[in-house]
């Protein structure tokens, strides 16, 4: 893998930092007038999602990370791994462990296309589509006549996710959810 010097650090560059694949968020050139030049760099650790801040001597190099984000279709869960398939026509399949799938698991529906990050050809994170359509598996009975405003109740979706929904929602209805906020958007009519 290539190495990169501090002057090549750009937002989005994928590098290996202390053994973890990271994406560079920000690189600030810092130099006291007469003093040593530094790069103050913010990284996102792609394994944990945490932001790291490190300072380097100007000109220092770090190793690049073989990280690739690709679209993949979610296939199924075998009880241990989540299986995905590339959408580029190669039908190449990958299995992702629970640590890689993380909170995305509650939004995964078969055949939805997700963004999967591969490091050395293994999935390390999964981002579900921004909007998913999921069926309500369980919720308190709907209250008619209260369709417009006020109040909500918990509902369990087919994937196991629990979200807040308006009082009029019934079991079996399909809902549109914003996965970035985990919020109900609307009912989906057939």
């Amino acid at each position: 893998m290539a190495t990169y010097a501090t002057n090549e650090f750009r937002p989005g560059l994928k590098v290996l930092l202390e053994g973890s694949p990271c994406s560079i968020l920000e690189n600030e050139f810092v130099k006291p007038g007469k003093g040593q030049a530094f790069s103050r760099v913010k990284f996102r650790n792609l394994n944990t999602g945490r932001v790291w801040e490190r300072t380097f001597r100007s000109g220092e190099t770090i190793e690049g990370a073989d990280v690739l984000e690709t679209d993949m279709e979610y296939l199924y869960n075998d009880g241990e791994f989540w299986h995905f398939m590339k959408t580029d026509g190669s039908y190449e399949q990958f299995e992702a462990a629970a640590t890689a799938v993380g909170d995305a698991r509650q939004w995964l529906k078969e055949q939805d296309v997700c963004s999967v990050t591969l490091w050395n050809d293994s999935p390390i994170s999964v981002v579900p589509p921004n909007f998913v359509e999921l069926e309500v598996a369980e919720t308190d009975p709907g209250m008619r006549g209260d369709t417009a405003q006020g109040g909500n109740k918990p509902a369990t979706l087919s994937t196991g996710a629990v979200i807040k929904v308006p009082l009029f929602i019934e079991i079996g209805e399909v809902l549109r959810i914003d996965t970035r906020t985990g919020e109900y958007v609307s009912r989906v009519r057939d």
Partner: protein, 312 residues
């Protein structure tokens, strides 16, 4: 940058007006005080030996990183107090607050010391940015307040620990100056808003300032003005002794050699000028683009340059 719109200026057209007005105000400021405007060479046969400043060599000559040596030669030859507004060049210094070519305002005042020059810097900055209060914090105190250490007694291990807290991989073998540079940058960055003069630099960071002793400890009569965390100006009560200047140049050359950096030939003319006699004076260099950026509230200097490095 190879974007289709990179023909266009980095700054807005109204910024050109603001720049011109600030330049006019600066020239009026010095005219009022009887300080003479001069122009010295931008491309010259010699350059500085500072270990952390890289010159751009071109055609066997160097683009000047500061007009300091030429201006001091004018002073040694009998010039009165002088100032200069002109471009200077520093290889590889590019970032939000850096551009490899930038506009330097540099001036020298006969019979001023550091304190008197700081007062004049205040007047100029007040004139361009509007009046505000100024703090003066000795270098040692700034680092003691921020990191709880006395830099005179701290061990290499103490400094390495602080570097680690700052997300910097240092070891006890890291040069103390490198650790101090990092700590100073962090302390200034954390200091936040306001106008601060950092004063009384450690002797190891004297650059071309003369040394003096207070409370039994030597310090350099050097100051830096920092506004809202951005370094604006660096000034000295100028070192006049040519022998000490020669020693510092030799020490800088040695550091460059040890780090595998190119070692330009030392400038014999500045030494000869100081042998002839540099009058008692204080001088300061001020990054004009940064000052303008602070005036206009842009978060960096690109938006105040007609064409930044990527468009030049």
């Amino acid at each position: 940058m190879t974007e289709a719109n990179d023909w266009a200026p980095s700054c807005a057209i109204e910024t050109l007006h603001a720049r011109a007005a600030a330049l006019a105000a600066t020239r009026a400021f010095f005219a009022e005080r009887g300080v003479l405007e001069v122009n010295t060479p931008v491309l010259a046969s010699h350059t500085v030996l500072d270990p952390a400043i890289e010159s751009i060599a071109i055609g066997g000559r160097y683009l000047q990183t500061s007009p300091e040596y030429h201006m001091k030669r004018l002073l040694a030859a009998g010039a009165p107090s002088i100032y200069q507004l002109g471009p200077v060049f520093r290889q590889g210094e590019q970032g939000r607050w850096h551009n490899p070519e930038f506009l330097m305002l540099e001036w020298y005042r006969l019979d001023f010391d550091a304190e008197r020059l700081m007062l004049e810097v205040e007047e100029l900055v007040d004139c361009l940015l509007g009046p505000r209060p100024y703090l003066r914090i000795p270098y040692r105190q700034l680092l003691a307040d921020r990191f709880g250490i006395d830099i005179d007694t701290a061990s290499a291990g103490d400094l390495a620990d602080i570097c680690a807290q700052l997300g910097y991989k240092a070891s006890p073998a890291t040069p103390a100056e490198e650790a101090l540079d990092l700590m100073l940058a962090a302390a200034l960055n954390d200091h936040g808003k306001g106008r601060v003069f950092v004063t009384e630099y450690p002797a190891s960071q004297a650059a071309l300032a003369r040394l003096s002793v207070s409370e039994g400890r030597p310090h350099a009569e050097r100051f830096e003005l920092v506004i809202d965390g951005v370094e604006i100006a660096n000034g000295y009560h100028e070192l006049a002794d040519p022998d000490e200047l020669a020693q510092r140049m030799a020490a800088d050359a040695e550091k460059r050699r040890a780090s595998g950096l190119p070692v330009p030939k030392r400038d014999e003319r500045i030494l000869a000028a100081q042998h002839h006699g540099l009058p008692n004076c204080a001088g300061v260099a001020l990054g004009f683009d940064r000052l303008l950026a602070l005036k206009l509230g842009t978060n960096g200097i690109s938006p105040v340059l007609a064409f930044d490095w990527n468009r030049a």
